[in-house]
């Protein structure tokens, strides 16, 4: 029986030669696995940014897991079907699904935090900040209420700004499904924002 060795210490980043495409790196990593580290260097920060907006501090672990899974599954990557970054965000999104309840709690907490405006700022700043915080609360509620499938599409479109085709490849769904899910999610968020605007006008 064999078990994995403990992680090695920090290693200096691998140089990323200009002009080497992501797909080329994946192919190279089939025979020279260390080349996969260049993929990590290119995408770890953006994958972490996406994950942290969804699951907060848990992103530290999920970002690491995303690249471990990607490395193990690199023979399953299909060049030409989707860019490497879409493939990576697909893996990251799968991992987020394991933590759906944590994500929803994060949104709820984010919304609750919107109710606490600081009182030491100038009056004008306080007004703007209260407005922004109220908006945060609305957005947090909207995200927490979205169906999981719609939420994935909306956040892949909004944060890493993947295209329709990239989202379709990342999630393994038809392109038309991406369009309809994004349309539906956008409509629900807009409805929440409109409600807030209407409420503000009525009370003005």
């Amino acid at each position: 029986m064999t078990t994995r060795n403990p992680p090695a210490g920090p290693v200096p980043p691998t140089e990323s030669p200009p002009g080497v495409t992501d797909e080329h790196l994946i192919v190279e990593s089939l025979t020279t696995p260390e080349r996969f580290a260049v993929i990590f260097d290119r995408y770890a920060p953006v994958v972490h940014g996406y994950l942290s907006r969804r699951v907060g501090a848990m992103a530290d672990d999920l970002m690491s897991e995303t690249f471990l899974l990607a490395f193990r599954g690199r023979t399953g990557y299909t060049p030409g079907r989707a860019p490497v970054r879409a493939w990576l965000f697909g893996i990251a999104t799968n991992l987020v699904r394991r933590h759906a309840r944590d994500e929803e709690r994060r949104y709820r907490a984010f919304g609750r935090a919107a109710g606490h405006a600081e009182t030491t700022a100038e009056l004008g700043e306080v007004a703007a900040r209260v407005d922004a915080l109220a908006l945060r609360g609305v957005l947090a509620d909207a995200l927490a209420a979205l169906p999981r499938e719609d939420l994935d599409v909306l956040l892949l479109w909004t944060y890493p700004q993947l295209s329709y085709a990239e989202i379709a490849a990342a999630l393994g769904v038809p392109l038309g499904t991406v369009r309809s899910r994004l349309h539906r999610a956008r409509g629900k968020v807009r409805a929440r924002l409109d409600d807030r605007r209407l409420s503000a006008e009525e009370t003005a």
Partner: protein, 332 residues
Amino acid sequence: MNEFTALRDHGPEPTPLAEDVLARARADLLAEIRAGARPAADRPVGLRRRAVVVAAASAAVVVVVGIVAPGGGTPPPPPAGVEPPVLVGFDMPTLPPELNPIPVGVTGPGFTAEPGWLAAVYRGADQRPGAPGSSIYVKTHRTRPEGGDGGRDTTYAGKPAVVERVEQDVPEFHSVSLTWERSPDQWIKLTGTGDFADERAVRALADTLVDTDKRLSLSISVAPAGWELYAFKGPGPDGDGAVTSVRDPRAPDRVIHVSTTAGLVPNYGEVVEGGPVPVVPVSVDGRPGDLVHLADDRWMLQAPLPDGRAFQLQVPAGFTERQVVELAEGVG
């Protein structure tokens, strides 16, 4: 402000990526890569002696199986920019024996390789890349593959064999391998993960192996003299995504890639270079193709395949336009 900008500006904010977190994640990945880390089925074998398929330095189609020693055993790369390489016939290897029938719950096989081995990969029907699941790897080696530390000697089909169980952090990635010399110069390492990570299951799978004379679906019949098969993988369910690569062992950065796509890519010159680049119309076996000469002297070519798919050819600097078309005409 629309919904998207509202989310970006006022939605949940990203948490900072600390340097130590980044370094730790990178170290974990490097540990995975270096210390055991390929999937159990993909452990490196024969690092000191690697069997490679080399394009013979003659016009005839000849397969030479060579042993390349790393480091000083290889001649220095040719001086750049002197003469274009000489193109010769190139023969692709046969594929590993097949599982017959294909076990319930997996599809495939897809194929991949490294110098020294070829592998047929049977994945779970709904398994996404990187996700845990049940898979089967049938790898053929020309020499006895190196095992891990925990292999147990046994017999299979009356021959000496080794069974190895590899435990991973994620239980779904546990694997069990059976290795034996199936015929002279053909070693088989059959590995099961997930539901197949069981010695009895792996032995039962080994009983169903049958030889095949099939070759890769994406083949190269012309390559520069002395270049070796570097890597390949099979197509996806739609027939696209197959990759075959050859490289110059004396200058490993010099690689020719061929990959399949579902169809021709519109605006090819803009797509491959990220900006408008002239596209030269070419004829590839009578079929219209697009040739792009990149700023760094590399070449990209796309052309249709007879079955309706298309392929892309990526060629490093140092080749002539005519040679790029010759290489493309050897793709099938």
